[in-house]
């Protein structure tokens, strides 16, 4: 029964995803992509469980730690990059946002 529930959730989330994204202006494609990319870092939840399960196996700990690190890069990098990009979009005549592009 539990498996069926998981598939149930999966199916509904799929339809919800289509409905949510279907009408996004092309200007926002990049932030949408990098923002959703950050969300895919949710795999960190699985990584945390693997890294924190103290089951006496060094393989699991090593793998778990690596997964936590990688997923965290994905999460932190993804959200910040998206925010930086969105900070650049502005309306005409709007007060210039704070300078936040140290790289260029």
């Amino acid at each position: 029964m539990e498996l069926i529930l998981l598939f149930f959730i999966f199916t509904l989330a799929g339809f919800l995803g289509f409905e949510l994204i279907a009408k996004v202006p092309s200007q926002l494609h990049t932030p949408l992509m990098s923002g959703s990319n950050a969300i895919s870092g949710i795999t960190i939840v699985g990584a945390l469980v693997a890294a924190g399960a103290d089951d006496g196996s060094w393989i699991t700990t090593v793998l778990g730690t690596a997964a936590v690190t990688l997923a965290m890069i994905n999460v932190v990098g993804g959200y910040l990059v998206t925010d930086r990009m969105l900070g650049l979009f502005k309306k005409k005549g709007a007060a210039p946002a704070k300078k936040e592009d140290p790289a260029s």
Binding site: G17, F18, V45, L88
Partner: protein
Amino acid sequence: MNREILINSAYIVASILFILGLKMLGRQTTARKGNLLSGVGMLIAIVVTLLDRHVINFTWITVGLVAGTLIGLACARLVKMTAMPEMVALLNGFGGLASLIVGAAEFFRIRGGTVTPEHPAFTATVIYLTVLIGGITFTGSVYAFCKLAEWLSGRAVTFAGQNFVNGLMLLATVAAGAAYVLSGDPQVALLAFGGFTLLSLVLGWTLVMPIGGGDMPVVIAMLNSLSGLAACAAGFIISNNVLIVAGCLVGTSGVILSAIMCKAMNRPLANVLFSGFGAAPAAAGAGAGTVQGELKPISAEDCFGVLEAARQVVFVPGYGMAVSQAQHVVRELAEVLERNGAEVRFAIHPVAGRMPGHMNVLLAEADVPYEQLVEMDAINPVMTTMDVAIVIGANDVVNPAAARDPASPIYGMPIINAYEARTVICLKRGKGTGFSGLENQLFLLPNTRMLYGDAKASLQGVVAGFKSLAEG
């Protein structure tokens, strides 16, 4: 039990925040807030997972979290806006690899006997899927990163029987997966697991190989979708709803973006992914719609003369603008043109650049207000009223062969009809064809002038003309 209810309630909140965040990301005014909301959702998911009674040892978690945060911070702060496509590809690859490793960790835990799954065959199947999708996402993204960062040639790399070889490898992973799921023997299972892990990593690389630079927006969107699906599959392994919901949302959003990109090129997804488009310079079609003519160069001063008299100007940017970092001087030119009384627009083709929406980000970086950015369908009907169209490093997306020459490989792709403007000025680094290897018929039309040289330097020359006019 109480703790479990708390954790799951928090996961529901996180899922809601992801959904709201994605919804708000779809509108200009709310996008930034939406991203923040989804970030809060992620924070909640991470924090409550730490409360999970299975999580006992925090030493290594802390190491991983701190290291990941620092690297992520560095990535986000240091990357240049022009390098955004490769950054997104790389981050995406990390996500895929993380999912693969989660799958591997679960494999070893089950093997070690610390976890006994309720449905062994099902868990084995989803572990297989997580590793397969995660592996393809990882190496595929890394390859895309190398192409975008120009560490590797952006051209499609093809060889005879490529699709056959890829198909064979895919079959082999299915066979290894079946052996792993069905075999009760731990030795066979380990061997099969190693086999499909390796194969999935090779597959990611070889699948992206035959896809040319011009098709990168589709690939990036597809890989993004795959990283979501990998997380989703990982969710099935550990029966975790928030992974399934979030992963699935990302998966579908990536699919939709890919579909939008493919539609913008009027090519089916299979054609983009498997045809090796742009591998070799295409033979110039001598079909009915071919334009005969010659390239007519123009100097920066003459260009200034044309623009000075123009009342309606449209810029059509492409990847070349990113390469020469010309977005700032483009904005400067747009400003002096407006001061000169002209109305300025920017026409953005959906697949201009190397990732979905690439040009919008670059122009935003240069402070171009987004109201001036016009989508293809909005600009084409008024193109005939444009005095000047300035094409900056765009190629295939303005090639009239797409509309007129049935022999052209890009025939049928919707383009920005820059050729309908009274005068077309094309900025180009030198003679030669673009990424797809096609000769651009636009350059040969009687109303087209070529402004050769580095786009940034050329435009600075034109802006200088306006400035001296203002002073004189």
